[in-house]
């Protein structure tokens, strides 16, 4: 399966609808401190099903909705879509292009969609079962994870092994 693009709107600092294409084998994301790079990584985790607010650097889940600036009102909802090319039919569906969408409304309700058809969070997790991708995957790596592996915090090494094995 190949990642094609991510679309964010109202997610953390991405107030405007923003699309990033990932056609290459290696794509760099660069920019100054605080500009939003790790927010993109959080968005990927979230749309793949992350449920722990602490893994998204949040005190509570609704903090991930764009919370406004001096010149702009907070957003009413956060929406992220991840588009995949279903090469090698790795994803258990007959579609060649798969779009996974997650929406959180400020009043607390959530929506999940696969190719724009409403579904449950469970359906999204099942789609990626056995691909090595998931919100808790060893495929999304940041410095704090490096630290946890070295200190073996809460059997993090054990859990990584069990995911891969």
């Amino acid at each position: 399966m190949r990642l094609q693009s991510i679309e964010l709107k109202g997610f953390k600092s991405f107030a405007e609808r923003t699309v990033i294409h990932f056609n290459q084998n290696m794509t760099g994301i660069i920019g100054p401190n605080g500009c939003g790079k790790s927010n993109i990584v959080d968005a990927i985790r979230w749309v793949l099903g992350e449920q722990k607010s602490s893994s998204l650097r949040l005190k509570k889940m609704d903090n991930l909705i764009f919370n406004g600036t001096q010149k702009r009102k907070p957003a009413g909802r956060a929406e992220v879509s991840l588009t995949f090319e279903n090469t090698k039919n790795l994803l258990p569906t007959e579609f060649t292009t798969v779009v996974v969408t997650r929406i959180l409304y400020r009043e607390g309700s959530s929506e999940y969609r696969i190719n724009n058809v409403p579904c449950r969070l469970k359906d999204i997790s099942n789609l990626f079962l056995d691909t090595g991708i998931g919100s808790d995957s060893y495929a999304i790596i940041e410095l704090s994870m490096i630290g946890d592996i070295l200190k073996d915090k809460e059997h993090s090494r054990r859990r990584l092994f069990e995911q891969a094995a």
């Binding site: 290696m26 794509t27 990584v41 691909t131 999304i140 490096i146 592996i149 092994f161």
Partner: protein
């Protein structure tokens, strides 16, 4: 289940030694050890790493950069067992010196032949190694937006 785990464990251990030796030198020692071999499904997993002829009593004695490379070797050892379609790396190159930055990007280039890599970085050596990059900026205060970015053009413009 135990047998399945042990098969995977042995393969991961082999991968770990191989990647470790790519990130350090070919005659360096490292190992993954089940603390309690009689209880493989519950046992803690210990890491030993001895880069460049050193004999640290534990990985805690290693330097910041050496620890990061050792942890990366373990993560990629797991990855090699079951390659994910894409990998996201968020500034894991922060503790590395220029020489190790080169090894890091060479390793990613090698793996990017079978998976897509998304690499967030502040380091120029890493920026020079990726094919395409997107710049994230906040032209309006507090609002992120994306612009395409080309390292060679940007570097030429700087000089």
């Amino acid at each position: 289940a135990t047998e399945k785990f042990m098969e995977a464990f042995d393969q991961i251990r082999e991968n770990f030694v191989e990647v470790f030796r790519t990130l350090f030198t070919p005659d360096d020692q490292c190992d993954l050890i089940l603390q309690d071999p009689n209880d493989p499904l519950e046992s803690r997993i210990d890491i030993t790493a001895k880069p460049k002829g050193k004999r640290p009593q534990s990985i805690d004695q290693l330097s910041g950069g050496e620890k990061s490379l050792t942890a990366l070797a373990l993560i990629f050892a797991l990855y090699l067992l079951k390659p994910a379609p894409f990998c996201v790396l968020d500034e894991v190159d922060a503790p590395l010196d220029d020489n190790n930055l080169g090894k890091y990007s060479d390793l990613i280039k090698r793996f990017s032949e079978q998976s897509q890599f998304i690499i967030v970085t502040h380091r120029k050596v890493t920026m020079a190694a990726v094919e395409v990059a997107y710049g994230i900026t906040m032209q309006q205060r507090g609002i992120s937006m994306v612009v395409p970015f080309n390292f060679s053009e940007w570097e030429a413009a700087k000089n």
